[in-house]
Symmetry: C2
Subunit: 362 residues, 2 copies
DNA sequence: CTGAAAGCGCTTACAG
DNA sequence: CTGAAAGCGCTTACAG
């Protein structure tokens, strides 16, 4: 009769309790260390024991507690994505595309992704480094950075692996993976000039962002080489937004009624510019050509569809993730990766008016 | 002379090693438990010791290791956001707006947010529950779900706090916070009918999504009450995308050349529909009124600007986060929250052609 | 090839 | 009001 007690569940171990490494070890009559090594593929364990234990793990439905794993192993297998403190950062197709690349690659590499926003108090409290110091993550990917983000220097100081995504900052030695903005801007300018445009306006934004400065630089250089004088009234800040783009276009068109083309530093500003042009009764592209930069999804669905530079944002995210993990694993060389961009010609651009008047031109 | 050794740094403790609870305790000449309790605001510790230790913590720059904290305390203070397995889920303004609300609220509540995508293999391997079982997170927020997502039932079975965001599923008892889709659709239909529209097409999508079914239901009921016969050729699936919306509009306009209004189940499809209308030489809104659903940011920046239903997505995300934490803390009552929606009238809608012909109407 | 022990850095009862 | 001990669930040397 006393034997009847045996199958009774142990009170100190509720039936539904999650099974631990020790439970498996006990069941297999080996040490916890052995089970751990089997799970981690340590070749020291004999194939026989390994398969026997693997089966048992399967059968018992054992799931390692990652807190314990990480506490022991010192690796969290989590990385943080830092977004800028913009109200619509998460709803922004630009960041979304990068994050998509990051998450897909992370999944494949066995990493999890934590989302953070670089709000003022957050960085003031050094939370961005705490993320690493307190063992939330193994490294940080920074999106939407600019030169004023002095907290970027904190990562190196704390020994936290970090990488800038689609931007670079000279001041701090931080790794980066970026799109080739300079080449993109050159392609736009070459194309517009080929179409006969001379009076070309630039809607720029974020001159504290190195990549944006490169676009402006390329624009100025091309016009300069052409002998077109481009004073500052040809360049207006559009704040990266549709509203800003519309306002900037308004300023440009007021100052230069003869303007035949507008090159915007991103698709959103280009869309705002087109909006403003239409509001003024201008036809796009007949009266005004508009070019964007980004190739966001809906650039192909506005009216007219937008000529723009395609940025390989998904690939930039994916590659940045990969490089960051290499850094985490101790790769010493600094990373400076540049991915190619290319022009997508759609409906928002046409020959400049003056040139179309010339005979023999098609 | 032997005393000279004392200040020499202990070899077993590298100078740069991160300071631990024990280091603080040793320095303060109290037990680790005491320091821990001070940090956790346990009132058992005298004010004197508490402030003394707090100052020391500050001075030594102590940062608690959250892995150790979580392993002991059983709380991770992390929640997961599960996105659907769509290629552009992260770049989608709809999800972005919700995530924004979630992250802001999470930050305020001391929670971190982990990003996951419900890819087929992910859910097949039960990774969505593992997230909880393996102690990555304390709970899960599910976005973009539908009736075919049978894995939603796994959360309850595993005792994992979970919540559906902006959708509900009858089959499983999962909490939810949603926008009032039924009321939104009613507002659209009332408005269009008031404008004199009778031949109204519906571009729908995701009939395996309860919220989408509610929109369709409201559409059908309103037309039925009006005595307008609406056969199935008035309802076309647009797959939630611009392309799908354009194709759906094409079908609708082919089948019903007399159609004066199209109501799309989301803004993207509405934009696609407008695109198709313009392609056919129809003027929006003069020839065809188009109404969207979502009120995404760029709905106000397309041409013409889009009349649509505003969905409080940020608030839905924020509220879902709050409710989830309540659930994690043991709140027993199931959550079914519904947030109000409202019509935003912009430029894409006008009086129906036939009615404008009638005298005395304004 | 495997085990026993120590340790990761906290929190939580249990004493006093 | 505070301390010593046990424990969270793993991994990593150290032995043999």
């Amino acid at each position: 009769m006393a034997n009847l007690q045996e199958p009774r569940p142990d009170v100190s171990r509720p039936v539904n309790r999650v099974v631990s490494l020790r439970d498996v070890a006990k069941e297999a009559k080996v040490s916890a260390a052995t089970v751990s090594m089997v799970l981690n593929g340590n070749p020291r364990i004999s194939r026989a024991t390994a398969t026997r234990i693997q089966r048992l793990v399967e059968r018992m439905g054992y799931q390692p507690n990652r807190l314990a794993q990480s506490l022991s192993s010192k690796h969290t297998h989590v990385i943080a994505v830092m977004l800028p403190a913009l109200r619509h950062a998460f709803a922004d197709a630009y960041f979304g595309e990068i994050i998509s690349g990051i998450c897909d690659k992370a999944g494949k590499m066995g990493y999890k992704v934590m989302l953070e926003q670089a709000k003022p108090e957050f960085v003031k409290d050094k939370q961005h480094v705490r993320l690493y110091e307190r063992r939330f993550v193994d490294g940080v990917l920074c999106l939407g950075t600019n030169d004023r983000h002095r907290w970027l220097g904190d990562f190196a100081a704390a020994g936290c692996p970090a990488m800038l995504v689609d931007n670079a900052v000279d001041e701090f030695k931080v790794d980066s993976v970026v799109c080739d903005y300079a080449s993109g801007a050159e392609q736009v300018m070459n194309y517009l000039i080929q179409l006969g445009h001379r009076r070309i306006g630039l809607i720029t934004a974020g001159q504290d962002i190195k990549m944006a400065r490169r676009v402006r630089k390329a624009y100025e250089t091309q016009l300069h080489n052409l002998g077109v004088d481009c004073n500052d009234t040809c360049i207006v800040d559009g704040k990266f937004t549709e509203e800003g783009g519309a306002a900037a276009a308004s300023k440009l068109l007021d100052a230069h009624p003869d303007m035949t083309a507008i090159f915007a530093g991103n698709d959103k500003m280009a869309i705002g510019a087109m909006h403003e042009a239409v509001r003024r009764g201008l036809r796009v592209p007949a009266d005004l050509s508009v070019v964007g930069f980004d190739d966001l999804r809906h650039a192909a669905f506005i009216n007219p569809t937008l000529t723009t530079i395609h940025l390989p944002l998904y690939e930039v995210g994916s590659s940045a993730m990969e490089r960051l993990v290499e850094r985490i694993h101790g790769r010493p060389e600094p990373v400076k990766e540049v991915l190619p961009t290319h022009l997508i010609v759609r409906q928002s651009t046409a020959m400049a008016k003056t040139t179309t008047a010339a005979p023999g031109q098609n």
